[in-house]
């Protein structure tokens, strides 16, 4: 499929400009903190117009503003336009015009050279029956990966893990469209399970990327866990506490998995209290779109707002199921505890399953 560029989205951008509803704006986690319309999707669509009509020139400042987008998709859920593709195409335009952020370029070069974004430190060899794609983040987290695999194995899901390379999400998301094509080729050459009827995934972002960009028949492993628990009808310990569930953007909004994690929590006898923004309209943890790499302070402020959402509904634990959301929220929770004197713990659903299946 031909890669689209900014010019392919002219009519979409004009549609936003002539609509101006602003439904995307108020809840945008970045706009909420930064204050200028430019950080909202609606504002970016006017910047896009400026680029198209040559009233604005690409610049490093523009690239930096575009980099401060989470690509969380909340704007898209409030819209009828494919806002994420449009913003990504604007980022691509910046890269094409020579305004790329060095840290993003470094990541891209590393993925192209080494196949991974992060050091692969975990033992990933498994010779089971069910193909499982691990992804860069879990490969860099031995304990978290071991826990997830152990949970799966205790539920009679035996992963088959072979050679793989980075799915390339971050390459495309940060505007390196041409390089993403090379990463895709690399992935296709390396990944051994390309023809499998079903592939389990652990990382929400990889799940969305494998599905959307490679057309692979993916199933997030937590869905498989929910299915197994349904079949078993019990056999898990009651954990018995109150918690809220944070929907990772890619698992929820992008892939549509909202209920299985909640179903599992209920099976673990966890009293689920919903935050006001949940499911399709959940707000980002602050770790999306490569923002942590370019503006860690902004990332943490966004994450703190998400933790505040949990405090507002009176829970002491956030449960989530994403290797980016978990550490991002936990860092923010620790910082926020110092400011407001309330600590909200952040737990991985895999860890809870690990305890419940002991």
């Amino acid at each position: 499929m031909k890669r689209k560029n900014l010019r392919d989205y002219v009519e979409d951008i004009y549609t936003c400009n002539r609509t101006r509803c602003g439904f995307c704006r108020e809840q945008c986690p970045v706009y909420h903190i930064k204050g200028y319309e430019t950080y909202s999707c609606r504002g970016k669509m006017l910047v896009g117009r400026g680029l198209i009509e040559n009233t604005l020139s690409p610049s490093m400042e523009m690239a930096q503003i575009l980099d401060q987008c989470l690509l969380c998709g909340l704007c898209q859920a409030r819209c009828a336009l494919n806002t994420l593709d449009i913003i990504t195409s604007m980022r691509q335009q910046m890269v094409l015009d020579g305004f790329s952020t060095p840290i993003h370029r470094g990541n891209v070069e590393r993925i192209l050279k080494e196949g991974y974004l992060l050091d692969a430190r975990a033992d990933t060899v498994r010779e089971g029956q069910v193909p499982l794609y691990v992804g860069c983040v879990y490969r860099s987290k031995p304990r978290e990966l071991a826990t997830a695999l152990s949970v799966l194995e205790r539920l009679d899901i035996h992963p088959l893990i072979g050679d793989e390379t980075c799915c390339g999400y971050i390459v495309e998301a940060t505007g390196f469209g041409k390089e993403f094509e090379a990463v895709q080729e690399q992935f296709k050459k390396t990944y051994q399970q390309f023809n499998a009827p079903e592939i389990l995934t652990l990382c929400p972002t990889c799940t969305a990327t494998l599905k959307e960009k490679y057309g692979l028949p993916v199933k997030h492993a937590i869905v498989a866990v929910a299915e197994q628990l349904r079949r078993r009808q019990g056999g898990v310990k009651s954990l018995g506490f109150r918690a809220t569930y944070h929907d990772p953007c890619h698992l929820g909004r992008m892939v549509g998995i909202f209920e299985e994690p909640r179903e599992i929590l209920r099976q673990l006898d966890i009293q689920l209290v919903e935050m006001e923004n949940n499911r399709y309209f959940s707000t980002c943890c602050g770790g999306g779109g490569g923002i942590h790499a370019v503006d860690p302070d902004l990332s943490i402020e966004i994450a703190k707002n998400r933790v505040r959402d949990a405090i507002r509904v009176g829970v002491e634990t956030i449960v989530t199921v994403c290797p980016t959301c978990e550490p991002t929220l936990l860092r923010a929770a620790a910082r926020l505890a110092g400011e407001v004197g309330i600590f909200v713990d952040v737990q991985s659903l895999w860890d809870l399953l690990d305890k419940a299946l002991e």
Partner: protein, 492 residues
Amino acid sequence: MNTGQVDKAFAELREILGDRATTSPVHRMAYTRDWSPRYRGMNDLPDIVVIPNDTQEMIRITRVAYRYEIPLVPFAGGTGMGGGAVAWKGGILVETKGLNRILEIDRENMTVTVQSGITIEVLNHELTRHKLWLPHQPESKRACTIGASIGCDNDSTFGIRYGKIRDCLLNAVIVTGRAEAIRVGQRKASFSSTGYKLLDLLVASEGTLGTITEATLRVVPLPETRQIRGYLCRSLNDTAKGLERLLGSGLAIESAHANCRNRLHFYTHSYREKYGREPKLPAWAEAILFLSFAGDRDIVDFTVDKAAQIMVDEFKAEPVGEQELVEGWWDSKHRLDFVPFKQKWPDSQRHKKFGAADLGLPVGRLEEGYHRYLEIAEKWDQEILGMTIYNESPNKATASISFAVFVDDSNEDRVRQFYQYVREMSEMAIALDGTMSTYIGDGDRLGGFNQLEHGLGLKYMRRIKGIFDPKNIMNPGKKFQSRWIEYHQEMT
């Protein structure tokens, strides 16, 4: 704009606001439009954008603008349809949404005091926790702020029960063009007969007198329940007469909108989403009256039944059988709760832009207005979208009318044709003893031309502006000048 003056002003604004003042072309670009029809390549770029956080900062910003005689343009939701919030003449654009705090919720006195940049939806979200709500609710409430509602005097879904923003407004703080902050109004009382009603002057002032920074509003208890209904009527006049009769019978109606049959299709997005087709209407149905009723459950049940009886027996109306169609109207007007990724507004404006003449007509001239609308839209080659009659005054049938068209905004000539349509519709309104605008305001469309409506009164309005804004820095051009409609010189 004198760049030397702008540079000096910016240096001072940075001292005051730090990063909340910018001349970045990227940020300025994001403020080049509101929701008014504009052609491709038309961008009103401010010179500076500032984000004040409180009244004191707004005073300091205004002092800078006053000293250097630079325009100051308040910008809020950016959903206005009249060009009121764009920096037509450059200058300092004030992003008012930094003024977004709730200062007090006074449960005992049923008031809320807010900074003006809070959106109506966010405010109501907070009020809901106290089982209260602000019934001034325009369709744009997700983006629209309290300050914008005062400044534009926009419409409200619940106007027939609660009126518009003025009916909720108790007092407000405005930083005038003299860089002085004054609180005008009647504190927390509902009325005052002392002095002149300066609070009234703020309503629909469109930032031409000053920047509104705070407001105190009367709020009401959240109703226990709500029901919505639609009635197919045999004429537009029947909708007004039927409504008058319902109110005369003693029924309490919360919202009442009448649509011509064309316009219905704009409000049935969720119906289309669910059934994949346009709703079918009987051939005799010339109009639809949508109503909402709210309050205690038993009272609402009785009201719904009684209203149906009156509409059917006395006006030969027919209740809309497919409730999805009615729900579609309510989704558009109030809930704004569209299916994720399938929101109605961009879906409906992919090829042409929504535009409207927003006229006020006497309630007996609806049919006449409608037929003239069809003629005038055809004359100026505008695609007819339809007519909606909003009832915006408590407990009486009124006619704040959106005569809507789809505007081809691909080139300047087509957009100018739309404004010719607005001009002729406005002339029609005056000829029918009505008004040119009921919820959009003058903006950059009707200024000067509105002399047709106000006569010598316009000269007094200009004098009033001079008192608040002697250097004409507050949103210059708006209300007294049109960039679209030619008009004769003001009377002297």
